[in-house]
């Protein structure tokens, strides 16, 4: 499938994604605008917002997916970030956790550092890369309706699904609080793995 030409909006699709989560699904969001727009869609206890470690949203999400195979887990990652760690797509293709979904927000720029072009702006096709890495259930998203339909059917193929979305260059309007311990503790409360006892009440 060829890359779509229509540009969608990350904040809008993040809201559509969150609206679909009815089973306490875990969402791991990569650095910068990716997690700001997830935060902007309304905080949920099962959200993990990355502050550094660029490129590790998918590996972290896979770790959650392996530890909790009955929970749906979604990784949100930017094009610059996934380009930094394309190898993880091969690992995910090989391990094939059926409860893992990956969404790549592809604006073709390193948005936060001054809009320098990424390889996806010209040559690299993330869906082709993901398919080649072994994630057969990988798709370019055409429009908002297509995104919602694909999300609804993400478990149909019995393996991980990857969606890549061409998005505009609108930055996230709000920023996630930068407190890594707080983010981790709240996430573990959301996953039911916190050791906080009465402190969590």
């Amino acid at each position: 499938m060829t890359m779509p030409t229509q540009r969608l909006n990350r904040a809008d699709l993040s809201k559509r994604l969150v609206a679909k989560l009815k089973h306490d699904e875990a969402v791991v969001a990569g650095i910068g605008n990716t997690n700001w727009d997830l935060y902007g869609a309304g905080h949920r206890p099962q959200n993990f917002y990355m502050l550094g470690s660029m490129g590790l949203a998918c590996p972290i999400a896979m770790g959650v997916a392996l530890a909790q195979p009955e929970r749906g887990v979604i990784a949100l990652e930017g094009d610059g970030s996934i380009l930094m760690s394309l190898g993880c797509l091969a690992t995910i293709g090989k391990v094939a956790p059926r409860n893992l979904t990956i969404v790549i927000w592809d604006n073709g720029i390193y948005q936060i550092t001054g809009k320098q072009a990424t390889a996806t702006a010209g040559t690299t096709d993330i869906v082709a890369v993901a398919k080649g890495a072994g994630i057969a259930n990988s798709h370019w998203v055409r429009d908002e309706d297509h995104f919602e339909k694909l999300m609804d059917r993400r478990f149909d193929e019995g393996g991980p699904m990857l969606l890549a979305v061409k998005i505009d260059d609108k930055p996230g309007p709000v920023q996630t609080p930068r407190d890594p311990s707080l983010i981790r503790i709240r996430f573990m409360q959301g996953l039911g793995t916190s050791r906080g006892g009465a402190l969590d009440a």
Binding site: V28, M50, S53, I60, A67, C88, R184
Partner: protein
């Protein structure tokens, strides 16, 4: 018992169920033990920082894990440790086979190995160099328990004194 069996027993006794790794010659007996034992889920990743990400997610999801790598792989993970696991207080247990010392033949290994302990020190990560089977169970068992209870990472460095070094490299030494 071989050193690798002694180490695997300590991991099992501490409820470690997931091993992520990038392979190394010295680690081979450990990795063979992991992949042939259904107690463990094992994931061979493409890079060591990816392996750190997977165990960080697994720990937050309630599964205890370790990462295995060689010294040169450790040189790839400073950012994952400094910007993810250490500030988030995610305990990461690392088993690192030590190259670059006591008979290294490869110049590409000997210098990168010297970056390992200073990086661990600068991040405040406890590290123990395992040199013999007699003290290994005590060090590993106690330090894993400490790591998970205090939510602080720990590195176990497998010295050639314990492992005999890289078998392929030993044959090259003149």
């Amino acid at each position: 018992m071989a050193w690798s069996d002694t180490l695997l027993k300590a991991l099992k006794d501490n409820d470690v169920r997931l091993v992520t790794y990038v392979p190394d010659n010295v680690l081979t007996p450990l990795l063979n033990g992991v992949t042939s034992d259904n107690t463990f889920r094992s994931v061979c990743t493409t890079r060591e920082d990816e392996a750190i990400g997977v165990v960080a997610g697994a720990w937050m999801g309630g599964m205890k894990s370790v990462v295995m790598m060689q010294t040169s792989g450790f040189a790839l993970i400073a950012n994952a440790l400094a910007s993810l696991t250490v500030p988030s207080q995610i305990p990461t247990v690392m088993v690192i086979s030590e190259r670059g010392t006591m008979g290294e033949f490869n110049v590409g290994q000997h210098l990168v190995a010297r970056t390992m302990r200073p990086v661990l020190e600068s991040l405040g990560i406890a590290h123990h160099t395992l040199t013999d089977e007699a003290t290994l169970p005590f060090i590993v068992d106690r330090s894993i328990k400490q790591a998970f209870m205090t939510q602080a990472s720990v590195a176990f460095i497998l010295s050639p004194l314990l492992t005999g070094g890289n078998p392929a490299g030993n044959a090259k030494l003149k």
